[in-house]
Amino acid sequence: MATGVAELERGWRGPRTRARARAWADTAHHRLLQILALTVFVAVVLIAWQTVQGALPALRAYGWRFLISQDWDPVAEHFGALPYLFGTAMSSALALLLALPLGIGTAITLVELAPRRVGSIVAFVVELLASIPSIVYGLWGLFVLAPTLRSIYEPWLIKHFGFVPLFRGFPFGIGMLNAGIVLGVMIVPTIVSISREILLSMPRALREAALALGATRAEAIGVTLDAARPGILGAVILALGRALGETMAVTMVIGNTNRMSISLLAPGATMASVIANEFTEATTKLHLSALIEIALVLLAATTLVNAAARLLVIWTTGGRRDVAGAA
């Protein structure tokens, strides 16, 4: 019936009009998609522009010293971002250290070792982890992890490894270690689900060839992993991006202090957490501007990490685009 009506309509328009209309629809569709794609780009540029504008007073007042000064004193209006840069780097590194073996190990197990049905059920559960709001992770860190760390693990670490500066201090439960663990748990799903997709997309022939050449099962997995490396690297970078920018959960468990310490048991702060903490009550122009400059630094850091990831992928694949995830 529908085709009948369409035929009728076409009938009196004639073939040339039809072709023209089709070309017009094509162009319109094309333009619409272009506008949509451009919107995202323009939004990012505008965000960067606004952030730079907001940060100008602080940029003028402190220049490069902003990045190397440890002072963050809203009363005296001395602002330096180093403790927050350090805190972001340390908590993210700790999170990656914990999540990397866990995430990739899980992905390998799900794809290569577990029965197919078990694999998909576990994968589903892991992806569920990703949809938990970060405040819930924060509450878990504060009310479950912190008491456990305080009463069991941190005293143990201090007793046995207290000679290492990394584990010196008092067992209070909140601090860098807690933040690192919470962040680690939060980024595991990202690593697992992307690595799993990458491993699933590897051609079976790769593994079969390895096995045919007499490789053990572990060696065959190694061959697959090697081919999947760029994609897995992408997964890790994406996870790192989340760790760098995570705000709420970290703010709740990191202890929020502008004093830097090498100890994992000491409190710290990250760039995202100081913005969340002080933005609403920043009463002076410079304080507000310094916070916006921290946002700018964070934006630059994530851009750098993503750019580095691209370069790393290009470098490890030798510019080939046929490897999974290389694009």
């Binding site: 009363v75 703010t251 502008n258 957490s273 969340a276 009550e281």
Partner: protein, 344 residues
């Protein structure tokens, strides 16, 4: 004829609606500390008069920004504006203190059976990072006969900028010159020691779950979380418990100074029964407002809040204004104008 009549009715209704609508909705933004009492006030006031007030508790700092930008009818702040900040405003801004609140020093020492007593020196020592163990002589001196445990202190402060921190650091600056010179008073400061909890609930949560912790929270949070509250020695030398009565005593003691300038901090009050760590919270209003209808509605609301509204404060753990301060507010109210014309 019928047609004409209908038109006139519609026109009249429309003009009435627009006139009322302009006067009936006021907007404000700012402090989170007084939010519970403000939202109660706005609710009761709407039922009483039909005037609706939209208030966003976005923080004192952001509230001040909104006032400066002129996007709200009034702002609310726990910290009074300094002379410099007042000069940044496009027109003259006046302060209306609305209610007062006390900060409780809360601690977690499960084995301590009597309330802890703190001297200003002990609080300074703790927050300067000089006192790190609970059995430090500086704390023990004020607690004779009490066995203080030899456990490490976890010093907790607010991590987010807040009026609460402003009151606390104003107090520390008032009792110790070293604090005043090295740290100072503000909504956020560079803390010499300790860990930060986000919000009153964050601090209360950390103190609640960490043995050996000490922190400062608004009185209502200390009560809600059933935390142990310390007695603090005031200027007169008495150890005083934070309460509505001891907060009102602190405001009353500051009466003469507040009469000269309502922005005077009320910390470390001299009266024998005054609790020393307390503060007022303010509404910020332009002295001359552009829209006469809105200006009139706002003036009427403030008039109501400082009189009838005060009765609603105590159930929510806020201290009502003493009579002297209500008079100061009344005087300020009579200076409000719109286009040069007096409002009340």
């Amino acid at each position: 004829m019928k047609y004409l009549l209908r038109n006139i009715t519609i026109a009249a209704l429309l003009s009435l609606a627009s006139g009322v609508a302009a006067a009936q909705t006021l907007t404000g933004a700012g402090a989170t500390f007084p939010y519970p009492i403000y939202s109660k006030w706005f609710d009761v006031y709407k039922q009483k008069t039909g005037v609706e007030i939209n208030y966003q508790s976005i923080g004192s700092g952001a509230g001040i920004q909104q006032v400066k930008a002129g996007t709200v009818d009034f702002g609310a702040s726990d910290a009074a504006l300094s002379n410099d900040r007042l000069k940044e405003m496009p027109r003259k801004v006046v302060h209306f203190p609305t209610v007062a609140g006390a900060l409780a020093m809360v601690y977690n020492l499960p084995d301590l059976k009597v309330p802890l007593k703190l001297t200003p020196d002990a609080i300074i020592g703790i927050y300067m990072g000089k006192v790190t163990m609970w059995n430090d002589p500086l704390i023990a001196k004020a607690n004779p006969g009490v066995a203080l445990p030899g456990v490490p202190l976890l010093v907790v402060h607010r991590s987010d900028g807040s009026g609460t921190t402003n009151i606390f650091t104003t107090y520390l600056s008032a009792v110790n010159t070293q604090w005043k010179e090295t740290v100072g008073a503000n909504t956020a400061v560079s803390w010499p020691t300790g860990v930060g909890g986000k919000g009153n609930d964050g601090v209360a949560g950390l103190v609640h779950q960490t043995p050996g912790a000490i922190g400062y929270v608004e009185l209502a949070y200390a009560k809600q979380n059933k935390l142990a509250v310390a007695l603090v020695r005031n200027k007169a030398g008495n150890f005083v418990e934070p309460s509505l009565a001891s907060t009102i005593a602190a405001v009353a003691a500051a009466g003469p100074a507040l009469k000269k300038d309502v922005r005077t901090p009320i910390v470390n009050a001299a009266a024998p029964d005054a609790y020393p760590i307390a503060g007022l919270t303010f509404l910020l209003v332009y002295q001359d407002m552009k829209d006469p209808a809105r200006a009139k509605a706002l003036a009427n609301f403030i008039d109501w809040a400082i009189h009838d509204g005060q009765a609603l404060a105590e159930p929510l753990e806020y201290a009502r204004l003493p009579e002297d301060l209500v008079k100061v507010n009344e005087a300020t109210l009579h200076t409000l104008t719109s286009g040069g014309k007096k409002l009340l």
